[in-house]
Amino acid sequence: MLNILVCVKQIPDVDLVKMDPETGNLVRTGVPTLTNPLDLNALEAAVQVKERFGGKITLITMGPPMAEETLRECLAVGGDEAVLITGRPFGGADTLSTSYTIVKASESFGCFDLIFAGKETLDGATGQMASQLAERFDASQISCCFSIEDISDGKVRATRSLETGKEVVEATLPCLITVEKDNFYGRLPNLRAYLDAKTADIAVCTETNIPGLDLEKIGVPGSGTIVPKIYPPELPEPGQIIRTGSVKTDVTRLVELLAEKDAI
């Protein structure tokens, strides 16, 4: 039976995050949250693997206590067990310290054959968590996985999308997989699973109960990068806006301008 870990993240709706013009800080208060969409594709891939080859799915996330919502959403879709890593000392972590924390916390929940993670998050969007998790799990990696052909004899055979085509690869377990969404569109939970997930137990890991956790390697102290400054993008001066009051004359004017420029 395969032991499968799926890494998920709750993110703020980036369309609604604003920057405070006075302080230059991001305003997240009251901004709705969601489960990172690409994580749901990763979960779907894990559920498909479980259905085809048998296995147990453990979900893991790191975030504030409310990140529990994301775990329940994913449990309803197809997780067997869920782990929430939470606590102030974990805050402000970059991918170096987050990957350390997730791997360290997961060790209490088993030794994993397959790890699924979203290709990137919509908020941080570094796209490098998966590779750093793979490195810390001492796992092989298949990124941009298009389809999973077979898992047997300690190996996974899969097809992945590259820049100019598709490559069939064979990787040894443990293996970390990120997926293209084409064959892994997320499914909706059934009512029973949804209700069960609402009351399911969630294991909570904090800085005090993760065995062997090095506090120097988590949160801000464990991060390699910092963000000393954010600012609004500098916008160029607006172009010439054509506003004659009617679509027809607007377009006529545009066509004239483009013709003058030899653009059409």
Partner: protein, 335 residues
């Protein structure tokens, strides 16, 4: 760790044994400018041999030296041997920074050696700056869906690792330096320890409609599109203009158009004569991927950021404007 013990910047040159991927050359050209300010030397790291003519192209980008790596384990691109090579090299030479092109392979293996070296890694910077006081590179990139620009630094650790998307910087070779050092390194990785093996490669069908990077005209459709039924008119407009259709990320996310047509930093960078955007808000992540001689934007929101990037803008319903454009262009053809 003393930051001052770490000197020089490296660029990884991804190649297939025949040609170097353009992103490596782009990075050398950009980092030449940065190294002129910091006083670092710029080295190209080439794993496995490249033909002399290709090496010359890299030298023309103004590098101070080449680190040529040979050994076992590099017969095909794999994260195990390549990450190991950089870890070994970095421990030997202590570079201040290592840059890797943000190809699928580069994004796979660079974050791995950053973990092995226990250092900070950034991705997708659009600009590079340098703070002489701290000696840190400033990786400047759009964040939170393009609403803000974030300056990211690696304040205490070295090397500073960055992956940069292809097409972010211009290939403008400043010419060769008078002296170009050459360091030969042998680093062997046990081929049996490589954990991912390619079995078969199936090239994508050569569909000309998917090849938009250098199309003369691109009609880009954004999240303003109501649904896929409304898409056909934009295809018609693109055909009339002898161009191709593209999209922004939300349309790919909505499953309306394929990833290969997604224009922007995390998709295709396009260089075109005429660019139309319909229903595109103008997030930096998207506009960073557009290099157009003439840029026309159409959107119903007069405050949309896209109007800051256009030459000509029309505020209005995207479908109506498109239909009218088609009608007038057809009438013009008849004249």
């Amino acid at each position: 760790m003393q930051k001052s013990d770490y000197k020089n910047m490296w660029v990884y040159i991804e190649h297939d044994g025949v040609t170097a991927a353009p992103v490596g050359l782009e990075l050398c050209c950009e980092l030449r400018k940065l190294c002129d300010r910091t006083g670092d030397k710029l080295f190209a790291v080439i794993i496995n041999p490249l033909p002399e003519a290709e090496e010359k192209k890299i030298i023309d980008c103004g590098i101070d030296g080449i680190i040529a790596v040979r050994g076992t384990g590099y017969d095909f691109l794999n994260t195990d041997a390549y990450a190991n090579a950089f870890t070994v090299l970095s421990r030997k030479y202590n570079p201040s920074a290592i840059f890797v092109g943000g190809t699928i392979f580069g994004r796979d293996f660079a974050p791995r050696f950053a973990v092995q070296l226990d250092t900070g890694c950034t991705s997708d910077a659009m600009e590079l700056d340098w703070d002489p006081e701290t000696g840190d590179i400033q990786f400047i990139e759009p964040a939170v869906g393009g609403k803000i620009m974030a300056v990211i630094t690696v304040p205490e650790l070295r090397p500073q690792v960055g992956t940069i998307r292809p097409g972010t910087f211009k290939y403008a070779p400043p010419g060769p330096r008078p002296v170009v050092e050459r360091l030969e390194e042998e680093i062997n990785f046990d081929p049996a320890a490589i954990r991912v093996r390619p079995l078969n490669f199936i090239p994508d069908d050569a569909d000309p409609e998917m090849d938009i990077a250098n199309a003369d005209c691109v009609v880009c459709v954004g999240n303003g599109l109501k649904d896929s039924e409304h898409l056909e008119r934009y295809r018609t407009l693109a055909r009339l203009l002898g161009g191709k259709i593209g999209c922004t990320r939300p349309l790919y996310d909505r499953g309306i158009l394929p990833y290969k047509l997604q224009i922007g930093q995390s998709g295709v960078m396009v260089k075109t004569k005429l660019y139309f955007s319909f229903g595109v808000s103008g997030a930096v992540n998207h506009t960073a991927g557009v290099d157009a001689d003439v840029f026309v934007a159409v959107d119903k929101n007069p405050d949309a950021q896209i109007f800051n990037y256009c030459d000509y803008g029309i505020v209005g319903d995207m479908d109506e404007v498109c239909d009218e454009l088609i009608a007038q262009l057809r009438a013009r053809e008849k004249d």
